[in-house]
Amino acid sequence: MDIFKSITLATALSLAGLHALAGNEAGVVKISKGAVTVERDQQKLPASVGTRIFSSDRVTTGSDGAVGITLHDNTLLSAGPNSTVDLNKFAFDSTTHAGTIDATVKRGTLSVISGKIAKATPEAVRFSAPGMTLGVRGTSFVIDAGP
């Protein structure tokens, strides 16, 4: 029984550790075209429809690539070809709608249709691109960070 308990505890701790490393689950890939990669904890994983996206993930697309991601607060993101987007931070409380979105478009294009966090606390939503930051007041827009 003690052994069983300690194994259970060890498993729980390692799962908690993995979860902490990976960050909060942020959303799900809904559209994937051509080369789409998620970088997480120094690993590169191919992203297909159904792949989960986590806080701290980097999403990249190749020259033939495009990706659409629905975040857990209903924010709709898509990236066009030759794009690199860092989801620096995502958190969402489905009871209170408190949360944070912080994303950086390093290169390429990102389309955003804002969701519940931008509606509840617009100041908690921030997108960045080379040379500028964006504050969002509930809306749809494209960021073009250039090649």
Binding site: I31, T70, A79, S83, S111, L134, G135, T139, V142
Partner: protein, 197 residues
Amino acid sequence: MFIFAIGLAGLLYLGMTAQPTSTVVLLPDADGKAGRVELQTQAARQTLDAPYASANATNRGVFVARTENADEIQRRYAQVLAARPAAPVTYTLTFESGSAVDLVPEFKTVLDQLLAAIARYPAPEVIVIGHTDRVGSDADNDRLSVRRAETVRDKLVQAGIAASLISVAGRGERQPAIATADGVAQAENRRVEITVR
């Protein structure tokens, strides 16, 4: 000396010439109107609040704002816009007062629409969110709203929707469909929203 002068002139030219860095284009929402984004560099601010308003930041931190042509934007950004996920769709069920179980008869109709939506969305997620009216304490309503959502979740699972697709939340009395004073029993606020995305 001559080369140095050319180099210096080149640096001056680069410094004085506005090199574009990033561009932002505001798009119309589904209703044709535009929201608002506020852009900021170290040196300047720019607000975009009309459909197809755009601004690009130069390397000197200055914005160049303009209104773009709608067709040209749809062409230029065709690939990124084509990859946008479908907008989530939401169905609403209402409850008897104080009850977590007595669903109204439209459940069957909503269920048919839900099943059709689940078949339509890639990697579908079903989000079941309970709400209450403003009778009772906040804490009680938080619990009641979760119970309502769980009741609906169980019915959806019984109807054959995979439990792994469904997540549940309770918003308590935070988001009334119809605003009322505290303590008011408002039928439309006793509801569960089911979102497919």
